[in-house]
C-alpha cells in the first residue's frame, strides 16, 4: 500500500463518509427525533445511547477518528479545487461546489456542536438532556446556526452518497447515476424533515 497512497486515501475518505460517519449521522438524527414525541422520550433514547457498552471506544472508533480523517482530508480536497460554476453552470458542477461549501460549514458546525454537547460534558460535567438543547436553541442565533449546520450536514451526506456510488463504480451508466440523484434527493428530504422537526421541538 506504499504505492498508490493517494488512491488509498481518497477511497478511504469516500468509504468513511458513508461507513461509519453517514450511518452515525442517520442514527443521530433518528435518536434526536424522539424529541418531537416528548422530552422524556428524548431523554430515554439519549440515555440508551449513553449506556451502550464500551461507549468511549465506540465514540473513538465510529465517530472521532473517522470524522477527523474525513474532515482534514476533505478540507485539503476542497481547497485543491478551482470552482468554475460561472462558466460551467451544470447541475453536477453546482453539486460539486455545494459539496465543498457544505463540507466546510458542517466542519465548523460540528466543531462547535461537539464542544457544546460533548466536551463541555467531559470537562465540566454539564448534563446532556432535552433541557440543555432547549436552552441552547432558545437563542434565535443558535437556532439558525443549528438549522444551517444540520441542513449542510445532511446535504453533504446525501450528495456524498451519490458520489460514493460513482467512486466505487457501483453506478456506471448515466441512467443509473440519474436515478441515484433522485434517490439521494429523497434521503436529503427525509432527513432534513426529521432534523428540522427535532430542532423546532427543542426550541418551541
Amino acid at each position: 500500500m506504499a504505492e498508490n497512497r493517494e488512491f488509498f486515501n481518497r477511497r478511504l475518505h469516500s468509504l468513511l463518509g458513508v461507513v461509519p460517519i453517514g450511518l452515525f449521522l442517520m442514527q443521530h438524527l433518528v435518536v434526536n427525533h424522539f424529541a418531537t414525541y416528548s422530552p422524556e422520550a428524548f431523554n430515554q433514547a439519549a440515555h440508551f445511547m449513553e449506556g451502550l457498552p464500551l461507549r468511549i471506544f465506540l465514540e473513538f472508533a465510529v465517530i472521532y477518528i473517522p470524522l477527523l480523517f474525513h474532515a482534514i482530508y476533505g478540507v485539503y480536497i476542497a481547497f485543491t479545487a478551482k470552482n468554475n460554476v460561472s462558466r460551467y453552470g451544470f447541475f453536477r458542477n453546482w453539486m460539486f461546489l455545494l459539496q465543498r461549501i457544505t463540507g466546510i460549514i458542517t466542519l465548523i458546525f460540528i466543531v462547535w456542536h461537539v464542544w457544546e454537547t460533548r466536551l463541555a460534558y467531559a470537562i465540566y460535567g454539564t448534563e446532556v438532556n432535552f433541557d440543555m438543547m432547549a436552552t441552547i436553541l432558545s437563542s434565535p442565533f443558535m437556532f439558525w446556526f443549528y438549522v444551517i449546520g444540520v441542513i449542510s450536514a445532511i446535504f453533504h451526506f446525501a450528495n456524498g452518497l451519490w458520489s460514493f456510488f460513482v467512486t466505487w463504480g457501483i453506478t456506471v451508466t448515466p441512467r443509473s447515476q440519474k436515478v441515484l440523484t433522485y434517490a439521494t434527493l429523497g434521503v436529503f428530504i427525509i432527513f432534513t424533515y426529521m432534523g428540522m422537526a427535532t430542532l423546532i421541538a427543542f426550541a418551541y
Binding site: 500500500m1 504505492e3 497512497r5 493517494e6 488512491f7 479545487a81 470552482n83 460551467y88 460539486f96 466505487w168
Partner: protein, 254 residues
C-alpha cells in the same frame, strides 16, 4: 463603406510565456460564413486594433481545420472549444477570445498541451505490438465492441475537458479526464488488454483516477461527445476490483 457590417472581438493577448496578459479590441469586416479562425486570419492580414493602431498579429495554433486535431482549442465567450468549428454567426458579439489557461500560455491564444501527452505516456495509452519476432494477427474484436470503442478513440487530446474540470489546476496533480478514458479504450482492445494491470497501476498513481471529483463538466464540454464520466465510473469499478485483487488476491493477476 461607413455602413459596412463589422465583427467586434476582444482578445486576451500575451507576448511571451512569462509576460503579463492584456486585452486588445479588434473590429474587422464581416464576411458570410466566417469562423473564429477566418476572423483571426483577417487580423493577421491587417493587424490594426479597434483604435486604429498598428499592432502585432494575434498568434494561435491550428492544424486540420475540421475539429479532428484539437490544436485550435481556445476559450470563446467563456467556453472552451475549437475555434475552427466556432462560427461567427452563432456567437454573441463582442466575441471574447482567451487561451485555455489550464495550460501554460506560449503566446496570445497558443498553449502548450505537453502535459496531456505526458499523461498518455504515463498511463501507457497504446497497444504494444513490437517484439523480437512477428507476433502475428491479434484476436478478433466483435463489431459491436469496435463501434463502441471507436467513440472513445475520437479523443483528439484537445484539452477542453481539462479546461472545464475544476480539479485540474495548478494546485493539483490531476491528469484530467481525457487520459483516463484512453485507459478504458486500450484496456478494451483485445491485444491492449494484455497490459491492463500495468495500465491500472499507472492510472492509480498520484494525480490519477482518484482525483476526479465528479463535477461531470468534462462530459458536457467534450466536443466529440465522448462518454467521459461513464469511462471514469467504469474505471472506478475496475479500480475497485484491481485494488482488491492486488491486496487480497494472487501474486499474478491481470
Amino acid at each position: 463603406m461607413a455602413d459596412q457590417k463589422t465583427i467586434k472581438m476582444i482578445i486576451q493577448r500575451q507576448d511571451e510565456p512569462n509576460a503579463q496578459p492584456y486585452e486588445e479590441e479588434f473590429e474587422i469586416p464581416y464576411r458570410k460564413n466566417m469562423n473564429v479562425i477566418s476572423a483571426l486570419m483577417e487580423i493577421r492580414r491587417n493587424p490594426v486594433n479597434a483604435k486604429g493602431e498598428k499592432t502585432t498579429p494575434v498568434y494561435w495554433d491550428m492544424g486540420c481545420l475540421e475539429e479532428v486535431c484539437g490544436a485550435c482549442s481556445m476559450v470563446i465567450n467563456g467556453k472552451a472549444q475549437q475555434s475552427c468549428t466556432a462560427l461567427i454567426d452563432q456567437l454573441e458579439q463582442p466575441v471574447r477570445l482567451e487561451p485555455m489557461k489550464t495550460f501554460p500560455v506560449m503566446r496570445d491564444l497558443a498553449v502548450d498541451r505537453s502535459r496531456m501527452f505526458d499523461s498518455l505516456k504515463q498511463v501507457k495509452a497504446w497497444v504494444p505490438i513490437d517484439g523480437t519476432y512477428d507476433l502475428g494477427e491479434g484476436p478478433r474484436m466483435a463489431e459491436s465492441k469496435r463501434q463502441w470503442a471507436y467513440e472513445l478513440s475520437k479523443c483528439m487530446t484537445c484539452g477542453v475537458c481539462l479546461e472545464a474540470c475544476p480539479n485540474v489546476n495548478s494546485k493539483s496533480d490531476f491528469i484530467g479526464p481525457a487520459p483516463l478514458s484512453q485507459v478504458r479504450l486500450f484496456n478494451a482492445h483485445p491485444t491492449g488488454a494484455y497490459h491492463k494491470a500495468e495500465r491500472m497501476d499507472a492510472l492509480l498513481d498520484d494525480g490519477g483516477l482518484q482525483d476526479c471529483g465528479n463535477s461531470q463538466n468534462c462530459v458536457q464540454a467534450c466536443p466529440k461527445g465522448i462518454p467521459l464520466t461513464t469511462s471514469i465510473a467504469a474505471l472506478n469499478r475496475e479500480a475497485t476490483v484491481h485494488s482488491f485483487k492486488s491486496f487480497f488476491g494472487s501474486d499474478y493477476h491481470n
